[in-house]
């Protein structure tokens, strides 16, 4: 039977919401008045097949499909993988060899892995997908569309808001907007009514005017600037630009010294790291450090790392990027520990899509669908994995093509809802933040406690 979209919606909305209703706003850590989500977007489509690799009997399937690296294949040698030892028993998965900093996080229970999560209109499988019973996300395997859909969690429509922005719509603003991006504008951060603040990374530009002095002519110039922002607003584009400027000037007074790192105690943890991601996470840590000064109690941050579109030379390129990811995540987690907020800050990865298990000409991989993601923080129920690991067989039960492109077994909606619920989003607001959530059987994946 082919379901119409309307039938699908009405049928699925009956499922899944009840557990959520019981946990309305339950998640604030005891005695704390601070909560933060840090969204880390891996632009380009990180190859999750080499992020976490089975080290048990399934490794042979993996190597057979990926190919021997000695012949230009993408298989990581078994002996180089970093075992992800569970609390008891032996490891069944290993981490990419360039991520040793994450092993102690795993072993301390602050890191969890979520398997094969992706954009889904509704639950589906190979048979449903092949028969067209469940529509695929719009423009599957297109970077732009899939980046957007991970950020909106609305794979069946063009959304002008992101789920981070929709959470922020429900939060009050103190001296600065609740959503702060250290990676420029992103759809994730755009709300229906709220607008994100974008700040420079550590070592970046000045978040304020340079040049204007305190002389009378200098102050007259500043006064005129302030006045001009409130004029000439007949054109909607000009109005939007002016609104952005007003927000920037409003925030800059309190934020400038924080962003300049004045008196920061967390910078040392990032010493020696020069990656853009480390400089962004360092800035997030500085803002969290100054949360009392800034009057911030609920914050959402956006940071990113690009370059994951590894169609060629993947072994070298991904290794360099995952090393930056590992070092940055580790330093940032240590910063939250040092600030005493590690249980109040949860960092999680998103990415365009996974990549083909089968290599492409040139030593790379092509665009796919489901992918593995990392969640880090003191509130994470870590040292374990969540979701269902795909069968690593080309054309196998999880592959909707013949190159190893996994049909997701967990949806972004479930992933987002789990994060949002922990953050304190009410059941009522959750329906706005994750409108399609009711289509999926489980609203809380359980990786946060």
């Amino acid at each position: 039977m082919r379901l119409s979209r309307r039938e699908l919606l009405s049928g699925l909305s009956l499922l899944g919401l009840s557990p959520l209703l019981l946990r309305n706003g339950a998640a604030r850590a005891a005695g704390s008045s601070y909560q933060a989500l840090v969204c880390l977007f891996l632009f380009g489509g990180n190859d999750g097949n080499n992020l976490v690799v089975p080290v048990d009997a399934r490794y042979d399937d993996y190597l057979a499909a990926r190919g021997d690296p000695a012949n230009g294949g993408l298989g990581l040698p078994l002996t180089q993988l970093l075992p992800l030892n569970p609390a008891t028993g032996t490891a069944t998965f290993g981490l990419h060899p360039s991520m040793p900093e994450l092993v102690p996080l795993w072993e301390s229970g602050a890191l969890a892995v979520l398997f094969n999560v992706g954009t889904l209109v509704a639950p589906t499988d190979k048979a449903d997908d092949a028969a067209g019973r469940v529509p695929r996300p719009m423009s599957l395997m297109s970077h732009q569309d899939q980046q957007n859909q991970w950020q909106t969690s609305l794979p069946d429509q063009q959304s002008r808001t992101g789920w981070g922005g929709r959470i922020a719509d429900g939060l009050g603003t103190s001296s600065l907007p609740p959503l702060v991006s250290v990676a420029g504008n992103a759809l994730f951060a755009v709300g229906a009514t709220s607008h994100p603040l974008a700040v420079p990374a550590v070592g970046g530009s000045t978040f304020g005017l340079t040049g204007l002095d305190s002389s009378a002519p200098g102050q007259a110039l500043r006064a005129a600037m302030d006045a001009i922002r409130t004029l000439d607003l007949d054109n909607v584009l000009v109005q939007s630009v002016a609104g952005n400027a007003v927000a920037a000037f409003t925030a800059s007074g309190a934020l400038s010294p924080v962003l300049a790192g004045t008196g920061s105690t967390v910078d040392a943890l990032f010493a020696g790291q020069t990656s853009g991601l480390a400089r962004q996470l360092n800035q997030v840590a500085r803002i969290i450090e100054a949360r009392h000064l800034l009057g911030a109690t609920e914050q959402i941050f956006f940071v990113s790392l690009g370059g994951f579109d590894t169609h060629n030379d993947q072994m070298n390129r991904q290794q360099a990027l995952l090393a930056q990811l590992s070092q940055g995540l580790s330093a940032f987690h240590q910063a939250t520990v040092q600030l005493g907020v590690d249980a109040n800050v949860t960092t999680f990865t998103l990415s365009d899509f996974g990549r083909t298990l089968k290599p492409a000409s040139g030593g790379g991989s092509d665009h796919a669908w489901g992918n593995h993601q990392l969640v880090v923080g003191g509130a994470v129920r870590g040292r374990t994995t969540y979701g269902t690991f795909p069968t690593l067989a080309l054309g196998g039960p999880d592959d909707f093509t013949s190159e190893g492109r996994w049909i997701p077994t967990t949806s972004t909606d479930q992933y987002v809802a789990t994060l949002a619920r922990w953050f304190g989003v009410s059941a009522a607001d959750l329906a706005t933040v994750v409108p399609n959530l009711g289509r999926f059987p489980t609203a809380d994946l359980g990786f946060l406690g």
């Binding site: 230009g72 002008r160 530009s205 000045t206 007259a220 630009v241 609104g243 089968k358 492409a360 790379g364």
Partner: protein, 549 residues
């Protein structure tokens, strides 16, 4: 509409809008300030890297259509000739090399400085502006294609083809070794069962998605074709991506003079890629719209037929035409405007499809582009950061070696020829913040941090233009003479009105003029330069100047 009729109609419109301007009224005048035709200033905003008084006078004297026709004839400014190097920094810049060695050979920095010198001072303004738009649609980025000379060679292709047939653009871009490297068509081999590899899908996918037809079927007016359930109809599926990946197998770098040819030639970026029959997948391929490429064809025949099929697709006109409108005129064109441009793409009036020169002309002479003022509140486009910098430089008499501009464009999130990905600097569907459903692609690079980086760059250019960078050979630095505004005297009202004419084509509200006058009058009357700078700083940092409208 026949081209001649369109021309006639538009020249009447153009004349009508400029009737009020006497030929002498546009000269700098210490009494009343600059008087410029608003529509001529608007055309300079849309078709060039920024108005100057001389340019606006030229447009006024010639008229819009003749001025455009003259621009269409101009040859490209020179982007420079750079050393051919191997992509190995340790070989090219061994220990003991100056630090600038890596910058000058393995980043597009030298080409970027040439871009800015040409954009600020070159005569072929329209060609450069269109090539700049094309460089953001058909993207090759220096982030991955590291040799500077490779980036320069690619951008020369876009400059050369800016007014050519779009079929030629597809051909030249597809066979560019820089593109081959960027999207992995170079040395893309037929399936290799022994290695378990497939042809690389990267170029096949982005050629269709970004460079030619897009993901969903379009009507000629740019609206999306939907099925009975309201769902957009895709232009192709994964099967076509796979078939096209096989089409683009069997090409390698051109053979460098003096180097022996191989199946996979070493990197070399001058001239087009060359076919290698042994690496081409000769099986039959079913591509777009069910077109079948017969088995046994050569790499070149397959490629030509595939590009023909793409070029013939009805999406190309609205897909490329609308993006060019968004880059030149307005981010939210009416469907009728897109349809008029699509019609010119389909037939330039002489039976030719895809004539980019005619398309650009149609975009800029369209009634939705021309006129003294536009009252639709959603009209216009947020300016590229590059256009903020060049607009200032051209209007305020900046002479420069381009060094400050090259580095500052990066700080403003638009490092020319060095986009973060094949999706360029900003996505075409970025929503205008608070804009009630309007799109504003360039708003993606205008965030709260860039409020300050933009204002501080304006300050730097006005108040403290940087001198020569000692690490750059032949550096001359940047000087700001303040151009035509420098000869108007220090009267606040005159300066504000002149800046309004030149930068805002007369849209400045009276209250803004008063605010500017107050700030100017806080300065000593004898400090004419300081007064001009104050006016320029306030206008160039104003929200109104960030929008081309």
């Amino acid at each position: 509409m026949a081209r001649s009729r369109l021309l006639g109609l538009l020249s009447v419109l153009a004349l009508g809008s400029w009737v009020g301007c006497s030929s002498s009224g546009s000269s700098p005048d210490a009494g009343t300030g600059l008087s410029l035709s608003p529509d001529a200033v608007r055309l300079a905003d849309q078709a060039t890297f920024g108005p100057t008084v001389a340019l606006v006078q030229d447009i006024q004297q010639k008229g819009a259509a003749p001025w455009l026709d003259a621009q269409l004839q101009l040859l490209p400014s020179d982007l420079g000739t750079y050393p051919v190097i191997v992509d190995n920094v340790n070989t090219v810049c061994p220990m003991g090399s100056p630090p600038a060695c890596a910058r000058d050979n393995f980043t597009p920095f030298p080409t970027q400085t040439a871009f800015f010198r040409n954009a600020i001072g070159g005569p072929d303004q329209l060609r450069q502006r269109v090539a700049f738009a094309l460089s953001q649609i058909l993207v090759v980025s220096g982030t991955e294609v590291r040799p500077n000379y490779a980036v320069a060679e690619y951008q020369k292709v876009l400059l050369r083809d800016a007014f050519a047939s779009f079929r030629q653009v597809l051909q030249d871009v597809t066979l560019s070794p820089a593109m081959g490297r960027y999207l992995n068509m170079v040395n893309n081999d037929k399936p290799n069962p022994a290695l378990g590899t497939n042809p690389n899908e990267n170029y096949a996918r982005e050629l269709m998605q970004l460079f030619s037809i897009g993901l969903v079927q379009l009507n000629a007016d740019g609206s999306v074709v939907v099925d009975g359930g309201g769902v957009p109809v895709p232009t192709y599926g994964q099967d076509v991506v796979k078939a096209m990946a096989r089409v683009f197998t069997g090409w390698t770098y051109p053979t460098q003079p003096g180097v022996a040819a191989r199946g996979h030639n070493p990197e070399y970026y001058i001239g087009p890629m060359i076919p290698v029959a042994a690496n081409h997948d000769t099986g039959s391929k079913q591509i777009l719209g069910g077109t079948v490429l017969a088995a046994g064809q050569s790499a070149d025949t397959d490629l030509q037929q595939a590009l023909d099929a793409l070029f013939a697709h009805p999406n190309v006109g609205p897909f490329i035409g609308k993006q060019l409108i968004q880059h030149l005129v307005t981010a939210n064109p009416s469907p009728a405007y897109v349809a008029r441009v699509s019609a010119t793409f389909a037939d330039d009036g002489h039976g030719a499809r895809g004539n980019l020169g005619a398309v650009v002309r149609a975009i800029l002479l369209d009634p939705e582009a021309r006129g003294d003022s536009k009252t639709d509140p959603g009209y216009g486009r947020v300016k590229d950061p590059v256009l903020l910098l060049t607009g200032l430089a051209r209007a305020l008499g900046v002479s420069t070696d381009g060094v400050y501009f090259a580095s500052t464009s990066g700080a403003l999130e638009q490092s020319v020829y060095q986009a973060p990905s094949v999706f360029s600097f900003y996505p075409p569907d970025y929503p205008l913040p608070g804009g009630g459903g309007l799109l504003s692609p360039a708003s993606a690079v205008l965030d709260s941090a860039s409020v300050f980086t933009r204002a501080n760059a304006v300050w730097k250019l006005l108040y403290a233009p940087p001198g020569p960078d000692s690490t750059v050979a032949g550096a001359t630095g940047t000087q700001t003479s303040l151009g035509d505004l420098a000869s108007l005297g220090g009267d606040a009202e005159t300066l504000a009105r002149s800046a309004d004419a030149l930068f805002l084509h007369g849209t400045m509200p009276g209250a803004m003029r008063s605010a500017i006058a107050d700030a100017v009058n806080a300065r000593d009357p004898s400090d004419v330069g300081g007064r001009v700078r104050a006016v320029a700083y306030l206008v160039l940092t104003s929200p109104g100047y960030q929008v081309e409208r």
